[in-house]
């Protein structure tokens, strides 16, 4: 009997090894036994230390991450894309899983039962070889661990980072510190101190490098009394010097430093000692280039040509965020650094989408990010919220112009999606014709929301009014914010309604000072930190800055700082709000990193008493600010 579904599965599988080796009827027989599962993001296919399933898996679409828990930390072993096999343990050892398989993005996987597949392995040596190879490549980490008995530590994360950085050219320091042969040790020590460097390269008249002196030489050769500080640099310099060309990759540089047992590599024009010195690379620079540095990430972003590669940067960014949180770096600082990289990522996605369009944009436009991104408060990846404003065009050109920008927006949102930004469930994205309009249409829309406020329009304006121009012509975006302020000045009623919605947010604590948790749905019994706590602080800050006509300040923390300046008598409240907001955002980010989600819903039973108290302390300012809104806009009459 005809089996269309099995035939299609066969069509997919036959593109990939080891299925490509199998005969057509064999593969069809396997395909007709396949079980197809949909794995939502962050869901497990299997968990470490659990008994093996009876089947192994092939990724149909999406990406499955293989993680191994080790020393209480999670290490990424591999990411499986379409056509990759995983969970092969059942075919080889049939013991408990040694790692967990988690969907990195929503995925569809085919499960193939071991029983169905086993006969083909026995018959076909090639298939067997392939399976063993795949299995071993995933298993590599724990072999090193058990055989050598040492921590695998960072090796895995570096392995992953290598995809991104190891093969790219190093970024070295240009204009290295140099001196000629006729200087004394004292001279160069003074120079090194003044310039705050740990090395100096000795060059000849042609700027060819002859030798190098580092802090180590000063310590071991001079401070020990072996040489006088009046000695010539020629006496203590290390020569000959290790030189390379600037085409050196990060991986090669790493090996070179180890091989020559030095801390510095000289970069010369043709890579030999007999050419001009153009730069220097220290082991420290190399460390920095391993991605734990925002400026390096930004540079790298600008070089990337494929959106898919940008995803690895986004992954690196998460690592960076984690280390910042561990080091207790001030929240405001983290926010600005992460937003900086994030915006560079987004701008690159837009640039690439733009390049992909057949023509240049017909008129100027501005790509806006909204909500938390617009406020530069997004640490964890959330939904996309964005919009496009383009310059006014003639009536008859309107439709074609809008179509152009919708096509562009479609490419952008798709690119962002591949970065891990989920599509907005409310479709607040520039690809939606409602949110891709000309300046004057936007102005009308904004005015509409303000003059005839409904619960829907207040919700929309609270999202849309926190916008930021991420790409394109900022003037177009600025004109829009003028409309908002103009509208606010004309009607206090609009602000009052925004105020009402801020007061109506569900309260965080119940009558007996217990946390109020969600009553139903997937997040039952969790505490919704966003709606119950953060939103009120965000809303209040927005309303009050609008009220004061403060332009260009979109960030909640900056807004409170500005408000404290303008209303010294309420400064205490505003400062406590800002403080509470900082604590909440950090709290949410930590939770999000821990559970690989948005961190919005907190399982209270996973919190210690200390954390619960910390959270509760944030609720006091929320009450205060609500009271302030109530009085200022006389909201009691409206509630």
């Amino acid at each position: 009997m005809k089996n269309t579904i099995a035939e299609r599965i066969q069509d997919f599988l036959k593109q990939f090894p080891p299925f490509d080796i199998l005969k057509k009827d064999e593969l069809l027989a396997i395909s007709s036994q396949v079980k197809v599962s949909y794995i939502e993001k962050s869901a497990h296919v299997f968990r470490q230390d659990q008994p093996c399933h009876d089947e192994f898996y092939v990724v149909r679409e999406g990406a499955i991450g293989l993680y191994r828990n080790f020393d209480k930390e999670q290490h990424l072993v591999d990411i499986c894309d379409a056509g990759d096999l995983f969970g092969l343990r059942i075919m080889i050892i049939k013991k408990n899983y040694r790692m967990s398989a988690v969907a990195d993005e929503e995925s569809i996987v085919y499960a193939i039962s071991a029983k169905t597949f086993e006969p083909f392995i026995e018959e076909n040596k090639e298939v067997n070889k392939f399976l063993l190879g795949t299995f071993a490549s995933h298993a590599r980490d724990y072999y090193t661990e058990t055989e050598k008995g040492q921590r695998i530590d960072n090796t895995i994360s570096i392995e992953v980072a290598q995809d991104l950085s190891a093969l790219r050219s190093i970024s070295y320091r240009k204009k290295p510190e140099t001196c000629s042969l006729d200087h004394s040790v004292k001279d160069i020590a003074q120079k090194m101190t003044k310039k705050r460097v740990g090395y100096i390269v000795i060059v000849d008249d042609d700027k060819y490098p002859m030798g190098i002196i580092t802090d180590v030489d000063l310590r071991t050769k001079v401070a020990t009394g072996m040489f006088e500080i009046t000695s010539s640099v020629a006496e203590i310099m290390v020569a000959p010097i290790v030189t390379y060309s600037k085409k050196l990759t990060v991986a090669e540089a790493q090996i070179a430093l180890i091989k020559h047992n030095v801390n510095h590599l000289c970069i010369t024009k043709d890579g030999t000692r007999n050419s001009k010195l153009i730069g220097i690379l220290s082991d420290h620079d190399l460390l920095v280039s391993f991605g734990n540095n925002p400026s390096v990430l930004i540079k790298e972003i600008k070089r990337i040509k494929k959106p898919k590669k940008l995803r690895y940067i986004r992954k690196q960014l998460e690592k960076l965020l984690k280390s910042y949180l561990e080091q207790d770096i001030p929240t405001a600082h983290i926010l600005s650094l992460i937003s900086e990289v994030n915006e560079a990522l987004l701008a690159r996605v837009i640039e690439l989408a733009q390049k992909d369009m057949e023509t240049l944009p017909p008129v100027g436009f501005s790509f806006l990010v909204l909500g938390s991104q617009g406020r530069r408060e997004q640490l964890l990846i959330t939904d996309q919220d964005n919009a496009i404003v383009f310059e006014d065009v003639k009536e008859e050109e309107y439709e074609s112009t809008q179509q152009y920008f919708i096509r562009l927006a479609n490419k952008i949102t798709k690119g962002l999606h591949s970065l891990g930004y989920e599509y907005c469930p409310a479709e607040m994205m520039a690809s939606n014709p409602r949110w891709c309009m000309s300046s004057s249409k936007w102005e009308t829309q904004f005015r509409d929301w303000m003059t005839t406020p409904t619960p829907e329009s207040t919700l929309l304006s609270s999202i849309f009014f926190d916008f930021q121009c991420l790409y394109g012509d900022e003037k177009i975006a600025d004109a829009l914010s003028d409309v908002v302020f103009d509208g606010v000045n004309k009607s206090n009623r609009f602000l009052a309604l925004l105020g009402v919605s801020a007061l109506q947010k569900p309260s965080p604590l119940g009558f007996f000072k217990q946390f109020l948790v969600e009553q139903n749905g997937e997040h039952k019994d969790t505490f919704d930190i966003k709606t119950r706590a953060m939103m009120v602080l965000i809303d209040a800050a927005r309303i009050l800055t609008l009220h004061h006509n403060i332009k260009g300040v979109n960030n909640t923390l900056l807004r409170y700082a500005k408000l404290s300046e303008l209303e010294p008598k309420n400064a205490a409240i505003f400062e406590s709000c800002a403080k509470a907001f900082r604590v909440l955002i950090k709290f949410r980010t930590r939770q999000g990193l821990l559970h690989n989600d948005s961190g919005r819903f907190i399982k209270l039973n996973t919190l210690g008493k200390k954390d619960k108290l910390k959270l509760k302390r944030c609720f006091r300012p929320i009450r205060d600010i609500q009271e302030l809104l109530r009085v200022r806009f006389q909201l009691n009459t409206l509630l």
Binding site: T4, K35, Y38, E61, I108, H523
Partner: protein, 223 residues
């Protein structure tokens, strides 16, 4: 009326139909989604007229424990005398195109035995339900007793509240495919569409779980 009078005289029903009816003797208990057997199905027909048009093929695939089970599927092609030139282009089933075809009667028997008491899923289910029911009635049988879910309706529930009430929006299976990112190969074959419907169902349920639905009955009473 003929149908109702027959119902009181069950002895005239063939054995497979009596067995089918016995599944529905008791009131269905609510079950978690992952222990319910679902069957996603689709029909290709000669046209859209319930009375004059005929079912040309039925494709169906089961979802057990959240997994689309390809080994639990059925693909039936029917011999039909009614033939409509206009719809051949859509699904490419000509009267004689070499596929093994069976009579409508045996097709219905196969299908009824296959679905058992599963919860049925179809996109714009009303059409497929009516086409099957008409066919059943032509052969002196009753109508489908299974609870039926419509992916078109379920999908609407996943939309944001702002868009949900917009009843004018009509979500085609193609819309679902592009929004839920399901590959559109084999659109317009019954089995292909049934498979797509099954995948769409899994994705929709995963979205709905985030808001409220946890049991099978929940899916029927979503607001």
């Amino acid at each position: 009326m003929g149908f109702w009078s027959k119902k009181n005289n069950e002895k005239e029903y063939p054995e497979f139909w009596l067995k089918y009816l016995s599944f529905f003797d008791k009131k269905r208990k609510d079950q978690p989604i992952n222990t319910t057997r679902f069957v996603a199905f689709d029909t290709e027909t000669t046209g859209f007229d319930y009375v004059n048009d005929r079912v040309l093929s039925i494709g169906a695939v089961a979802i057990n424990t959240y997994v689309v089970d390809v080994s639990d599927q059925i693909e039936i092609y029917l011999k039909q005398e009614v033939f409509n030139e206009d719809t051949v282009e859509i699904h490419g089933i000509r009267k004689n195109n070499g596929l093994a075809k069976i009579s409508e009667k045996s097709a219905l028997k196969l299908f009824i035995e296959y679905i058992g008491n599963a919860v049925l899923i179809a996109h714009h289910a009303e059409f497929d339900r009516k086409m099957i029911n008409k066919a059943l009635q032509r052969h002196g049988l009753g109508t489908l007793k299974n609870p039926i879910l419509d992916t078109g309706v379920l999908y609407r529930k996943t939309k944001h509240i702002i868009y949900q009430d917009d009843l004018n929006v009509h979500y085609s299976l193609d819309d679902l495919c592009s929004d839920l990112k399901i590959s559109k190969s084999d659109r317009h074959t019954a089995s292909g569409d049934a498979f797509i419907t099954a995948l769409a169902f899994l994705k929709i349920v995963s979205r709905l779980k985030k808001s409220n639905a946890v049991t099978t009955n929940d899916l029927f009473y979503l607001k």
